[in-house]
């Protein structure tokens, strides 16, 4: 059994008086890939944003590498270097070139030397096939290119866990594959631990070890992926899977 | 005994005179706004038409008012109307006219901006059901543009109110002019009076404009959603 990296215990989240997440419990082990599935509005984004402190949770505990997370701003800044995140809207910094986007974290946050950071950036960009775009500004890139660079920006900090929130949802269909392949390679070659929110069911089925199925803020299933897609435990999950097919 | 000079404000009929001046200020602002907004609506609509000469002329009209400071506009009207055009109007009416033309220029740009930001398919669906251009403006575009343009319009109103402070320059008996008369009349007995009179006028302007800007800010925030 691989070592546990992240554990969530009894996490509850409210917006004002409205409860969004109810007693969420789960954990993820080193190298594991977790697909977080569920209908729109079920709380998937809110949940993964709680994991790196972009949302405050109301009650509950978070353990990272066995250590209980004390949610102060300083601690979050530390943890976020170990938990990379990629968003649906890419959100490269529009005022910076591709290279500057990638080296900003390593240089300013991790205090690496510039030459070291540039080296990391170039290596990663080569890997995603975008080595020629170092000096380009984000607005000159296609969505698929931006998203691959956003992944590189997160990887440049050498995170232990990666969070992906519907990273292909804004892409034109022909761009989706390139991005998904990078994520898949991350799991297969680098054994990266990942939590993936996606509506690409085929992709989830291929890549995930386990599925968390969320509805209305409740985790209804925490099932090995093989079982989930063939024989889900709950009626709701079966309906959800059915609705995703044509 | 008056160490402070506040008594200047309430001596004789000073306070009611100041209020009277404030009223002059307010009605000039209101009338100028009313005329300017109506005129500006038409000019703004015309600036969305295809006709190039019309658009050019209206654009120049706007740019003229953008470039020339309001003080200068007032003096232009004040000197040119009687001397060149032989139109002798009381100073209040000169002011209303000038401000109204200025408001119309600024408002035409607000209206135009709001109109062209109404999505194109709204215009096309309107035409598709057989509306005339005028009906399209009246029933589709203007109502949609209205919510967009309201904050900018209120801000324009606050600017008009502030600009009325220039009325004294062309000898309108506005609140500032009356304030100065009071200051002069009481300068010997109450040297500190000047502080209180200007303070009160400052306050008058503030209580007229502050709620308006607050409203504009609220509406603007609401529009962002």
């Amino acid at each position: 059994m691989a070592k546990e990296i992240l554990r969530v215990e009894k996490l509850n989240k409210f917006y004002a008086k409205q409860q969004i997440l109810y007693d969420v419990d789960f954990s993820i082990a080193q190298g594991e890939v977790l697909a977080l599935l569920g209908p729109s509005g079920s709380g998937k984004s809110t949940l993964i944003r709680c994991l790196n402190g972009l949302e405050e949770f109301s009650t509950g505990d978070l353990f990272f590498d066995g250590q209980k997370m004390v949610p102060t701003e300083k601690n979050w800044q530390q943890i976020r270097q170990k938990i990379g995140m990629v968003f649906q809207s890419y959100d490269l910094f529009s005022n910076l070139t591709v290279l500057e986007n990638i080296v900003l974290g390593p240089i300013k946050v991790q205090k690496k030397s510039r030459s070291q950071a540039v080296q990391i950036a170039t290596r990663l960009l080569k890997r995603v096939g975008l080595a020629d775009y170092l000096q380009t500004y984000p607005r000159q890139l296609s969505g698929g290119q931006k998203q691959r660079i956003a992944i590189v920006r997160a990887l440049a900090l050498h995170p232990e866990v990666m969070l992906f929130d519907e990273v292909t949802a804004s892409l034109d269909p022909e761009m989706v594959r390139g991005v998904l392949e990078i994520i898949k390679e991350l799991s297969e070659k680098d054994n990266m631990t990942m939590i993936i929110v996606t509506h690409e069911m085929n992709f989830a089925e291929q890549i995930a070890d386990r599925v968390l199925f969320l509805e209305d803020g409740h985790i209804l299933e925490n099932t090995p992926s093989k079982q989930f897609f063939v024989n889900s435990q709950t009626e709701r999950a079966r309906e959800f899977l059915e609705s995703m097919k044509f | 005994m008056d160490h402070l000079g506040t008594s200047v404000l309430f001596a004789g009929n000073n306070f009611s005179r100041l209020l009277g001046g404030l009223w002059t200020t307010i009605w000039i602002a209101l009338l100028a706004l009313l005329i300017g907004l109506i005129l500006g609506t038409f000019l703004g609509m015309m600036r969305t038409f295809k006709n190039r000469p019309v658009r050019l002329i209206l654009r120049l009209y706007l740019e003229f008012f953008r470039i020339v400071p309001t003080v200068v506009l007032l003096f232009l009207a004040y000197y040119i109307l009687p001397r060149q055009l032989n139109i002798n109007l009381p100073a209040e009416q000169v002011a209303v006219l000038t401000f109204a033309l200025w408001v119309a220029a600024e408002f035409s740009d607000i209206v135009r901006g709001a109109l062209i930001s109404v999505p194109k398919h709204q215009r096309e669906s309107g035409l598709a059901i057989g509306l005339t251009h005028w009906q399209l403006f009246r029933y589709v575009l203007l109502p949609q543009a209205l919510t967009l343009e309201l904050p900018a319009t209120i801000n324009l109103a606050t600017r008009v109110v502030k600009t009325t402070s220039l009325l004294m320059l062309i000898s309108v008996m506005d609140v500032i002019n009356i304030g100065q008369q009071i200051i002069e009349a009481n300068g010997q007995s109450h040297p500190n009076g000047i502080f209180w009179v200007y303070g009160l006028i400052f306050f008058f302007y503030f209580i007229v404009d502050y709620p308006l800007s607050l409203l504009a800010k609220k509406l603007n925030a609401a529009n962002q959603h």
Partner: protein, 219 residues
């Protein structure tokens, strides 16, 4: 229209022109500095200070420059604070413009999208680093249109300084009209003088706005 009169007045107008430019320049620089400082203090929500700044901004924006000037020039001497007309002009323009510029900067900073800020947090940046590398550069470019509108506005507002006898353009023209009783020529020259300042300036500012617009592209 008498061209001789126009020619004879040109030197005077050039003097006024210089005063207007000079006053605008120092006033706008003052306003930009005050505005930037205020907007930064508000951005970082410095306790108490940001409340005071809000009050200043509302007072300054919701009262006419003319009254602000009268206070400085006529009322302050009564409490022993006598300032020269030009200095009043500088302070007045800075006091008025500072609030406008502050709102322009704040508008830019607040206009930076939340998703950009999330992206910055997600790579572990501190609030200060975020401000320095993401919010301020993008916010400044977003605030450019408002800043340039304010610059034009403040230059036009210098015409109000004619009332405290600063010999800028408007004051020069009104003086000449008073002396020679020729309004057409002098008013024409006055309008042209403002056009000479403002038309090229607004063209330059528009070009500048286009240049720095990257911030508004979001992605």
């Amino acid at each position: 229209m008498d061209t001789n009169i126009i020619q004879a007045a040109i030197p005077k107008f050039i003097e006024g022109f210089k005063v207007t430019i000079w006053l605008s320049l120092i006033g706008i620089i003052g306003a930009l500095i005050v505005g930037l400082i205020c907007s930064l203090l508000q951005y970082f929500k410095v306790p108490i200070v940001s409340k005071i700044i809000s009050a200043y901004i509302e007072l300054s924006r919701n009262t006419p420059l003319l009254i602000q000037l009268f206070f400085l020039y006529y009322a302050f001497p009564v409490i022993g604070l006598k300032l020269s007309a030009t200095f009043c002009g500088f302070i007045g323009l800075t006091f008025l413009g500072g609030s406008y510029m502050s709102e322009a900067f704040s508008g830019g900073f607040n206009g930076v999208s939340n998703t950009q800020i999330d992206a910055g947090k997600a790579i572990g940046m501190s609030r200060r680093q975020l401000a320095r590398y993401v919010v301020f550069p993008q916010g400044l470019s977003l605030s450019m249109p408002a800043l340039s509108a304010n610059i034009i506005f403040l230059i036009k507002e210098t015409s109000i300084f004619s009332v405290i006898a600063i010999p800028e353009l408007t004051n020069t023209a009104l003086d000449l009209i008073g002396i020679y009783y020729r309004s057409n020529e002098y008013l024409l020259m006055l309008v042209i003088a403002y056009a000479i300042i403002l038309i090229p300036l607004s063209i330059v500012l528009t070009i500048l706005e286009r240049r720095v617009r990257y911030g508004s592209f979001g992605n």
